[in-house]
C-alpha cells in the first residue's frame, strides 16, 4: 500500500480508539457500562444495530457475491422489515419494561433458571465462535491481498476493539458504531462513484447494466419454490423472517443495542431504521459487486483472485497445465471483451436483430471465460488438497488495491476494518454482559457491590476479546472452518427464538416444556443439517416449530404453576 493509504488506515484506527476510550468516564457504573443508563437516542442505537450486523464478511463477501453470482442474495433480507415490525410490537416493550440487562434474564422470570442457563449457553457458544470468525475472515483476506502477516492483522483488528470496548463499555460501542457506519457508507459510495467513472467512455450506465443482466448478474427476485436453493423470494421472506426475528430479538449482541435506548418508543424506532434502510443498503453493496463485474469486462481480471496457492501450483507437476489455462483465460477474456463491445454498439444503434445476436455471443463468451476459471479452481483444489478453496471474497479487495486511486484504497481498507470492529465490539460487550449477568452474578457471586460487578464486566470483556483473537488466529489457518461457521448461527437461532416464542407468545408454556422443547429443537436442526440438503435458512423455521410444538406438549402434560406478576403478550400468566 502507498504511505498515504497507510496514513488513512492509521488515522482511522487512532480516531476510533480515541473516540471509544473517551467514553470511559461515562462508564463508571454498571448501569452505564452495560446499558448506557438507557440514554441513547434512537438514531444512534439504530445505526449501532446496523453496524453490528454489517460485518467485514458482509462487506467483502456480498460484493464478491455480486461479482460472481449477481444480486440474488438481496432476497436474504426480505424478511427483515417484517421481523422488525414484529419485534417492535413484542420483545422491545417486554424487555424494556422488565428492566433486564440481558434477554435471557427474562427467561428466568418467565420460566426457571435452567431455561435461562440453556439459552445463555447457546448464545455464548454461538457468539464466541462468530466473534473469532468475524475477525479471522477479513484478516485472512487482507493478509493475502496486501501481503500482511495474518496474526498481526488479527491483532490489528481485535486489540484496539477490545481496548475501547473494555474501558468504554456500551457507550463506546454505540458511538464508535455510529462513526463506523459513516466510514462504511462513505467507502461503498466512493467505490460506486469510481466504478461508474471507470466505465469506458463509449459505454453508458444503461448499456453496462444490460451487459450485467445478459450475464445473469441482475436476477434480483426468484419466485421459484425450492427448499434446496439458498436465496429465493420464499426462503428470504418466510424462512428469513425467523432468522431475523431470532438474531435481532434473541441474540444479546443486538438486544443490548435497543435496551440502551431512552424509551420504549426510541427502542422501537432504532429497529425500524433498519427496516427502512437495510434492503436498499444491501442492494447497493451487491450492485457494487456487479459494477466490478462490468469493470472487468473491459480490463482483464486475474484468473484467480485468491493467489494464496498460486506459487504451489506453479511449482507442481501440473504447472504446465496451469500456464495453459492462463493463456486460455487471456484469450477468452479478449473474446468476451470483443463481444461486450459489439453488444454495447448494438444497443447504441438500437438494432433489435443485432442486439439479440450480440447478446447471445456475449453470453457464450462469458460462459467460456467462467469455464476456464472453474477448471483453474479445480486444478488448485487437486494440487493443494484445499477442497474449500474459493476466491469470491477476494474480488473486491483485489479490485480496490489494484485499480482505485491512492487515498481511496486506504478509505476502503478502513471501511473493512470499520465493518469488522463495529461487529466485534458489540459481540464482545454482549458476551461480557451475559457472562456477568447470566452466569457470574446469577450463579457464582450473587451479592456484591456495583463496583465489583463493573470490574468483573471489564475483565470479562478483556477475556472475550483475547479469546476471540486467539480463536481468530486458529480459524485463519483452518480455511474450511470459516465457511462452516458462517452458517452455524442458523443451528442455534431457531432454538433460541422458539424459547422466546413460548415465553412471550404463549400463556401455558412451563419451564420444563421450554427447556426440553429447546433441546428437541436443537437436536432436530442438527439432524436435518447433517442428513439433508435443505438450505440453512429453513433451519430457523424448523427449530422454532419443533421447540414450540414439543414445548407445548410437555407443558400441557405437566403441572402448571404460574408465577405471580409475570406477563405474556396476552396479559398476566396467572
Amino acid at each position: 500500500m502507498h504511505p498515504i493509504d497507510w496514513f488513512v488506515v492509521g488515522a482511522y484506527l487512532v480516531w476510533i480508539v480515541h473516540d471509544g476510550l473517551k467514553r470511559t468516564r461515562a462508564a463508571g457504573e454498571i448501569d452505564g457500562y452495560l446499558l448506557a443508563k438507557r440514554s441513547m437516542p434512537w438514531w444512534a442505537a439504530g445505526l449501532s444495530v446496523m453496524a453490528t450486523q454489517l460485518s467485514a464478511i458482509t462487506l467483502v463477501g456480498t460484493t464478491g457475491q455480486g461479482y460472481a453470482d449477481g444480486m440474488r442474495f438481496v432476497q436474504f433480507y426480505f424478511g427483515l422489515p417484517m421481523a422488525m415490525v414484529i419485534l417492535s410490537l413484542t420483545v422491545v416493550p417486554f424487555f424494556y419494561r422488565a428492566r433486564v440487562y440481558t434477554a435471557y434474564e427474562y427467561l428466568e422470570q418467565r420460566f426457571d433458571p435452567r431455561t435461562r442457563a440453556l439459552a445463555a449457553l447457546l448464545f455464548l457458544v454461538n457468539r464466541s465462535l462468530s466473534c473469532g470468525v468475524v475477525i479471522a475472515a477479513p484478516a485472512v483476506i487482507l493478509s493475502i491481498v496486501l501481503g500482511w502477516n495474518v496474526t498481526l492483522t488479527v491483532l490489528a483488528i481485535g486489540v484496539p476493539t477490545a481496548a475501547y470496548t473494555m474501558f468504554g463499555g456500551v457507550q463506546a460501542v454505540t458511538w464508535t458504531d455510529v462513526k463506523q457506519m459513516g466510514v462504511i457508507v462513505a467507502g461503498v459510495l466512493a467505490a460506486v462513484v469510481l466504478l461508474l467513472a471507470g466505465l469506458p467512455h463509449d459505454v453508458s450506465l444503461g448499456e453496462a447494466l444490460r451487459m450485467a443482466g445478459a450475464a445473469g448478474r441482475l436476477r434480483t427476485v426468484d419466485f421459484s419454490f425450492d427448499l434446496t436453493t439458498d436465496y429465493t423470494f420464499w426462503s428470504g421472506t418466510l424462512a428469513g423472517v425467523f432468522l431475523m426475528l431470532s438474531y435481532f430479538g434473541c441474540d444479546q449482541s443486538q438486544v443490548q443495542r435497543y435496551l440502551t435506548a431512552k424509551s420504549v418508543d426510541e427502542g422501537q424506532s432504532s429497529l425500524l431504521l433498519s427496516a427502512f434502510v437495510k434492503i436498499p443498503l444491501q442492494a447497493l453493496i451487491l450492485l457494487t459487486g456487479v459494477l466490478v463485474f462490468v469493470y472487468y469486462l473491459f480490463t482483464q481480471p486475474p484468473m484467480l483472485f485468491n493467489q494464496v496457492h498460486t506459487s504451489r501450483v506453479e511449482a507442481s507437476a501440473r504447472a504446465g497445465e496451469y500456464a495453459g489455462l492462463q493463456r486460455d483465460f487471456a484469450a477468452a477474456f479478449t473474446g468476451r471483451r470483443r463481444a461486450a463491445t459489439a453488444f454495447a454498439q448494438a444497443l447504441r444503434d438500437r438494432d433489435a436483430s443485432r442486439i439479440a445476436a450480440s447478446r447471445s455471443e456475449f453470453r457464450v463468451a462469458d460462459k467460456q471465460l467462467n469455464a476456464t476459471r472453474t477448471r483453474a479452481v479445480q486444478l488448485v483444489k487437486d494440487v493443494t488438497g484445499d477442497t474449500a478453496y474459493s476466491d469470491v471474497n477476494y474480488v473486491f479487495p483485489t479490485f480496490v488495491t489494484e485499480h482505485l486511486p491512492i487515498g481511496l484504497v486506504g478509505l476502503i481498507i478502513a471501511a473493512i476494518f470499520a465493518a469488522a470492529m463495529s461487529s466485534i465490539a458489540a459481540e464482545m460487550n454482549s458476551l461480557a454482559t451475559t457472562t456477568v449477568i447470566d452466569v457470574y452474578r446469577r450463579h457464582i457471586r450473587k451479592q456484591a457491590s456495583d463496583s465489583h460487578y463493573l470490574l468483573v464486566s471489564k475483565l470479562a470483556t478483556g477475556f472475550w476479546g483475547l479469546t476471540a483473537c486467539g480463536f481468530a488466529v486458529y480459524a485463519a489457518s483452518a480455511g474450511s472452518l470459516i465457511e462452516v461457521v458462517n452458517k452455524v448461527g442458523s443451528l442455534f437461532y431457531g432454538t433460541l427464538l422458539g424459547g422466546f416464542v413460548l415465553a412471550i407468545g404463549t400463556r401455558r408454556a412451563t419451564g420444563r416444556g421450554a427447556f426440553w422443547g429447546m433441546l428437541a429443537g436443537f437436536a432436530s436442526v442438527l439432524w436435518v443439517a447433517s442428513t439433508t440438503r435443505i438450505s440453512y435458512l429453513w433451519y430457523n423455521l424448523l427449530g422454532v416449530a419443533v421447540v414450540v410444538v414439543v414445548g407445548l406438549v410437555i407443558s400441557y402434560a405437566t403441572p402448571f404453576e404460574p408465577k405471580p406478576g409475570v406477563r405474556w403478550i396476552g396479559g398476566r400468566v396467572e
Binding site: R97, A214, T220, V264, G565, W568
Partner: protein, 47 residues
Amino acid sequence: MSEAGVKPQVPGEAGGTSRTRTYVLVLLVETITVLALWMFGHYFGGQ
C-alpha cells in the same frame, strides 16, 4: 431483580395510531422496494 412484564407507566411510549402508521409504512416501503428490485432485474434482462 425486576418483575417480568409488569406494566408501570414507562416514559416515552408513543401513541398507538402514529406507531401503527409507521408499521404500515415499513411494509409499504418494503413492498415497493421488492417490486422495484424485480422490475430493475426484469428491465435490464436479468429475469
